[in-house]
Subunit: 200 residues, 2 copies
DNA sequence: GGTCAAATATGACTAGAGTCATAGTTTGGC
DNA sequence: GCCAAACTATGACTCTAGTCATATTTGACC
């Protein structure tokens, strides 16, 4: 690895490390790019060579966090268990990860919503958590149709959208709550309802 | 009405009218508060006497728009029709309204998401569209349980959250699309699925 | 180890949201 | 009509994200 590459990685990590500390100390909004760069010992302009906006740094935090979760989830989808359980497990993994850092989750959900709207990236390289979840659920459902776990009459994509929506809104409700409700529990029950149906 | 009150209303309307025009012409982001105040013939500081932030003005646009929709929806909930149809109609009303001004909807959904998280207002006076939808659906479901349209075993609040989530995510997907899909159609089918259940 | 092009760093600068001390207006009581 | 208090308008000012022309560093080649 060239000196140049090494320095680049070093600087990016420095920004990441410093900003992580500052965000924890005083929150994202109350931390200025100036502070980050001063603490990191770089010029302000340099920051924007690494992250196009302050929000891009936030998304980077999200990516780092989600790398781990999606590894776990990927494993989950390998298991040979009933489709309903599989989907529940996926959602619970994600919920657990959200529960680990409520503040970050709060900030990221806004960025993800913004990003989804602007179709920030093409369908494939998009790291957006909602998008990834949707694709995974879609795949599990397809498998479920094959297994006869799931009605063959359903439109798989549509159901994946329903489930993603359940995740998203439950997340919002949970974020608003003062920690008295468990995100992962509430979502699990909702999936049961969807599988059983609510009509008489 | 006192002179003072009259002037206040006049100024607020002037801001509303001018900014509405400018937003349509050049978009929300590309319109500055300076421009709005210049066109409205007021000082910059005055703007912030009426709207605490530029985003608050956006929410005001939302309120004005939603006043109309929720009147329609309120009528819908009066009708004596099967619960499933009633909920579909509510969602379709809302979807139609969103379809009328995609740009505004795009901007509002972010504000609403932000607002929900910060529990901007107490549950009752909160004008947030998601919140209002949730309450209306909840009421319809309760009625549905009474009518035996809906299984009595369900947790009404939870199902209302599912439906709100379906609305929210469908909205996001529709906003991202280039107008080839109909928001109201897609949502209608999803409600059918929820009522029937997807499991075998 | 000198030279040049490409990559990277720099910080003064711009732009726009939001603040606040001050100035001006309206009102109700006398 | 006059006055004080309450309310409202004003615009110079602050604060911060993001830009960009310029300076510095690196790597490849001779």
């Amino acid at each position: 690895m060239s000196l140049r590459e090494k320095k680049k990685i070093e600087t990016k990590n420095k920004i990441f490390e410093v900003s992580g500390r500052l965000f924890k100390e005083k929150g994202f909004e109350n931390t200025t790019v100036d502070e980050i760069t001063k603490e990191a010992g770089i010029a302000k302009g340099t920051f924007f060579n690494y992250f196009s906006t302050k929000e891009a740094l936030l998304l980077y935090f999200g990516e780092k966090k989600e790398e781990l979760v999606y590894d776990l989830i990927e494993n989950e989808t390998m298991k040979n268990i009933p489709t309903k359980e599989k989907i529940k497990n996926i959602l619970i993994c994600l919920a657990d990860s959200c529960e680990k850092d409520k503040e970050l989750t709060k900030l990221l959900i806004l960025e993800h919503t913004k990003c989804m709207q602007h179709s920030c990236l093409g369908p494939d390289e998009c790291k957006n958590s909602l998008y990834r979840l949707n694709k995974l659920v879609c795949a599990s459902l397809k498998e479920g149709v094959g297994n006869k776990d799931v009605k063959s009459s359903i439109d798989v994509k549509m159901v994946a959208d329903i489930i993603t929506g359940i995740h998203l809104y439950s997340l919002i409700v949970w974020l608003k709550s003062d920690g008295e409700i468990s995100f992962s529990n509430s979502i699990s029950e909702k999936i049961d309802m969807l599988f059983e149906g609510i009509g008489n």
